[in-house]
Symmetry: C2
Subunit: 427 residues, 2 copies
């Protein structure tokens, strides 16, 4: 924001996730001064959070400093602060530190958080998987349970080595597969003094199949692959409540489990509510066809926080591609407006869906009807993620190394400091 002149408009982007970054990057060279605001100083590559949680990758493999991303883009500044309020009338964003930011254009890209749906115990006892902190806390918790079981094997009966994953969408499926492998391939070798065969991963999905947005054939494929890899899959059963050491299912079963992961859904960032604008049931902001806020053409919402209607009238899914394309769309509209043109409606191009089920196995569905699974599906998944990661890291070396780590599990990411334990115990 160093070169602000009367001619340049100031764009404040809230959130350094996929949507916010895409908008800021697409404004490269355009006559706008952009400020990206985020509570963290880095972008989190959320699709790979489950790998950090399962010790396949380390935190800095999927986190990249926001300032590093914009090093060569001189019209973007970064501010590390929380947004405390947005004054739409005054066109001002209030922050947890520093002066409020005045804007000409505001891009709301604050993302989503875990939705508990009011299920008893989720807030207190379950782990989410929406942030790097979530992933690191989960990893430390799981490793700590194994260290405890090495000292007091009787706690295994109580569920110390049982992980229940609630939610059979892509996150739940990927996480379950990775957990099964972590237990069998890594921890079983580390913990010779623990009967790791007794460690359980249970994946619970309320609907009648996994991966509800995929074809039934992919759902079946995911289920059989997970089961072959030792994951217990329970479908058509809800979670009624949970406490520190067990999960109560709607069919009356009670599963002793010291670790519960809540991957059953998300809701829009609370920022959507503080705006006083209209939201959906999931807290998402209702937007016009061009992604602007009704009555506020200078405010746009993109990604998980926005309720953008797709071609079939359904809301677009809360996935990275919608955020990225939405961010770029908004940048294009700003440029059009400066040129005196009217804005266009946002048109989402579905690039397909994919979910890994574990090492060397994934299901991939393209919009043209093509389906891949097994090793080819996994390679497609890998290639896609590498392409998107490379956008942030720009270094083939990291990608090779990352693929290597992922294939071999030969990495030290399961370290657990005494201070981690204290933090868990305290929290």
């Amino acid at each position: 924001v160093t070169r602000a002149t009367v001619d340049r408009e100031r764009v404040v982007v809230i959130g350094a996730g996929f949507g916010g970054l895409a908008a800021a990057r697409a404004l490269k060279g355009a006559p706008f001064d952009v400020v990206v605001v985020d509570a963290n100083n880095f972008h989190t590559f959320q699709p790979l959070l489950y790998q950090v949680a399962t010790a396949g990758l380390d935190d800095d493999d999927i986190a990249y400093p926001a300032r590093g991303i914009f090093r060569r883009q001189h019209n973007v500044g970064v501010r590390m602060a929380r947004v405390t309020a947005v004054d739409l009338a005054e066109r001002t964003v209030h922050l947890s530190r520093g002066e409020p930011l005045r804007y000409d254009v505001l891009v709301l890209a604050a993302g989503a958080v875990t939705a508990t749906y009011g299920v008893e115990g989720v807030e207190q006892y379950a782990f989410g998987l929406k942030s790097l902190d979530d992933a690191l806390a989960l990893r430390a918790h799981i490793v700590e349970r194994f260290e405890e079981a090495a000292i007091e094997p009787e706690i295994i009966d109580d569920g110390a080595l049982t992980v229940v994953v609630c939610g059979g969408g892509p996150t739940g499926v990927e996480l379950s597969g990775a957990l099964g492998e972590l237990f069998q391939k890594v921890l079983a070798r580390d913990f010779r003094d623990v009967d790791v065969r007794r460690a359980r991963v249970v994946l619970v999905e309320a609907a009648d199949r996994l991966l509800g947005t995929f074809t039934p054939r992919s759902s079946e494929r995911a289920r059989t692959t997970l089961e072959r890899r030792g994951v217990e899959v329970v479908v058509g059963v809800g979670v009624e409540k949970l406490d520190a050491t067990s999960v109560q299912l709607s069919d009356g079963r009670r599963i002793p489990a010291h670790t519960v992961i809540w991957a059953a859904g998300v809701q829009a960032s609370s920022l959507a509510n503080v705006l006083g604008a209209e939201t959906t049931r999931g807290g998402r902001l209702l937007v016009e066809a061009d992604l602007s806020l009704p009555g506020h053409p200078e405010v746009f919402a993109v990604g998980d926080i926005a309720a953008s209607p797709g071609p079939d009238g359904q809301l677009l899914p809360q996935v990275a591609q919608v955020a990225i394309q939405g961010g770029r769309h908004v940048a294009r509209q700003l440029v059009r407006r400066r040129a005196g043109q009217s804005t266009e409606p946002f048109r989402y191009r579905d690039k397909g869906s994919m979910a890994t089920i574990g090492r060397r196995d994934a299901v991939t569905e393209l919009p043209n009807g093509w389906r891949f699974s097994g090793t080819i599906g996994w390679l497609a998944w890998l290639g896609l993620h590498l392409v998107y990661l490379i956008g942030f890291r720009n270094r083939a070396n990291v990608l090779v190394n990352w693929a290597w780590n992922y294939l071999t599990y030969d990495r030290g990411s399961r370290i657990l400091a005494e201070s981690d334990r204290e933090r868990i115990a305290g929290g």
Copy 2:
């Protein structure tokens, strides 16, 4: 400890540092059951802590899970717990969790901690650099100061971007050089909105030259190189006291500084004191020539916790090589005793000293009188550290990657989560 029989003796090793690991590894195949106890579940490669603190490496590059190290050595078990007491008479180690451990042989390798020498303010305000937590806290603190300065530039006058490093030994020299580079090569590009030229690194040493254990020529070389790289070097001046935002020197100067690192010395782990055995002024355990405790031939002390006399009657330095060689020596003595032989005195083989002064510059002194500096000294330093790291990681890939990261600084290790800030604020 699964195959304990009447024939096998149980060796309890306290500490998974260089000394403890060397002892346990050297007992491979010997008729001993070994238990390594450490509060963390990993080994920390301490000589590279300063690189984690300065964002050159990430934590898991220098931390390796203890269980991973002993995966293929079946006579070693690992227990993650703190030692609360040692009962020499009952030959029992009491732990923070789990049953007490009985031993036939005890190896004390608990290392050292930062010594404050009673200087006012060090305990409360200075950062140490003895653990991974220290390094990560320091890194988060420094990056946070820059984020704050981006929002409130006036705090730079107050010392927000000034780091004072107390202690001009190898740690202080290496850290100062790396900090200077972090500021000028990395953060200056990240923080276009901060006048990073005003960031200062001040290295303070009470003696009249840096690197007191090296030759005066190496000391001079270190000083000129650091100064050329922007580090202010102050020698012959002590630190009188410090608070949250300044350092008071013995010559009357007061340096405004929001970050103070205490690298002025270490003292033996408090475990040495709880034993009730005789210690030196620095808290190190007095030992016999074979490294056993006087009156306790079944107890050995190695590394930083031990006061082992060198050939010249001086105590051996508290460096990795002394610990590694000490650990191996103890393992050999245990095998000798089992064979009915007497123990031998510990003979330390000095392999030389080295300190990096920054990228592509280091001073290396070999015991045969050879001296290297500049790029050759740095390559020697690099080679040596790679050899020792490879012992733990066994993977050329990591080393190449690591060297690459180090050369290019192209790595995302300067991430700062909101939770880090809270932890700093809370602590």
